[in-house]
């Protein structure tokens, strides 16, 4: 893994934001099975209420809001990561069945299941003796 991947990447939000916080690109894993694509995004500090998944035409946008509640009586003495919102967009192909996308958030990890449309699922064709 390269050095860049290990660090949070700052993101320039596509839409103008009201909140005056930085946005970051969440790190994602995407893997493919026969039936679906799975997208897993690390978004520490978010839960099911603060994550939004939006699909517009073929653009899938995931956003996560993180509450910044800094302890006032303490001052920060060392910092390796910054706190901010998350946003990332993906383009879906026609392979995906848009009606059946399923999302869950647990422990700051968003898990998206993107089932493939019936017509593109691999089919086995029976070979008959002629």
């Amino acid at each position: 893994m390269s050095e860049k991947d290990l660090h949070k990447t700052e993101n320039t939000a596509a839409a103008e934001r009201v909140r005056n916080v930085k946005t970051f690109l969440p790190r994602v894993d995407i893997y493919e099975t026969k039936e679906a694509l799975f997208l897993i995004a690390d978004m520490p500090g978010t839960d099911d209420k603060s994550v939004d998944v939006e699909l517009e035409k073929n653009v899938l946008t995931i956003t996560g809001r993180v509450n910044i509640d800094e302890a006032k009586e303490r001052s920060i003495v060392y910092s390796e990561y910054e706190i901010g919102d998350y946003e990332r967009t993906f383009t879906l192909s026609d392979e995906i069945d848009r009606e059946k996308i399923f999302a869950t958030v647990k422990d700051g990890v968003l898990r998206l299941e993107l089932p493939k449309a019936e017509k593109v699922k691999p089919k086995k064709i029976a070979v008959k003796a002629a």
Binding site: R27, E32, E73, V77, D107, G108
Partner: protein, 145 residues
């Protein structure tokens, strides 16, 4: 190799991420080794007051009971394993950016900790540990006669 010293940043904490970045860049420039120095995992933020410190670490998607937190003196050790997503046959990764595997990290605080009163909380993928300072170590007020 320049190694990070936690307390070098005392006094100008806002500049710390930028300094760390600069430091990595310097290490990269001066090392002839192909392999780049990797950032310690998990990334931590530390807040402090006179009586206690709070260490926060971003550890998304981990089983809370799989995180081992140990404190000895002024050293905090975090170790554990992130969930490894084993793919079945016929499944392939199209993109893999998340960090998987085991980690072990030692963090030195600026004072010895009262190990009996350490509290840890894991919420929304963020681990935060409150470490109270040892009573005997608290600064004493000295009266001027």
């Amino acid at each position: 190799m320049f190694t990070p010293n936690l307390w070098r940043f005392r006094g100008f904490p806002d500049a710390a991420p930028e300094i760390l970045r600069l430091q990595r860049e310097m290490n990269r420039l001066f090392s002839n080794v192909e392999q780049r120095p990797t950032q310690d995992y998990p990334a931590v933020n530390i807040w402090e007051s006179m009586e206690s410190a709070v260490v926060a670490a971003e550890l998304p998607g981990i089983d809370a009971d799989k995180i081992a937190i140990e404190v000895t003196g002024d050293i905090l050790t975090l170790s554990g394993t992130t969930k490894i997503n084993a793919l079945k046959e016929g499944e392939t990764y199209l993109r893999q950016e998340r960090i998987q595997g085991s980690f072990n990290r030692k963090i030195q605080l600026s004072f010895p900790v009262d190990t009996q009163k350490v509290e840890a909380r894991y919420e929304k993928g963020v681990l935060s540990i409150t470490l109270p300072r040892l009573k005997e170590n608290l600064p004493k007020k000295i009266k001027i006669n």
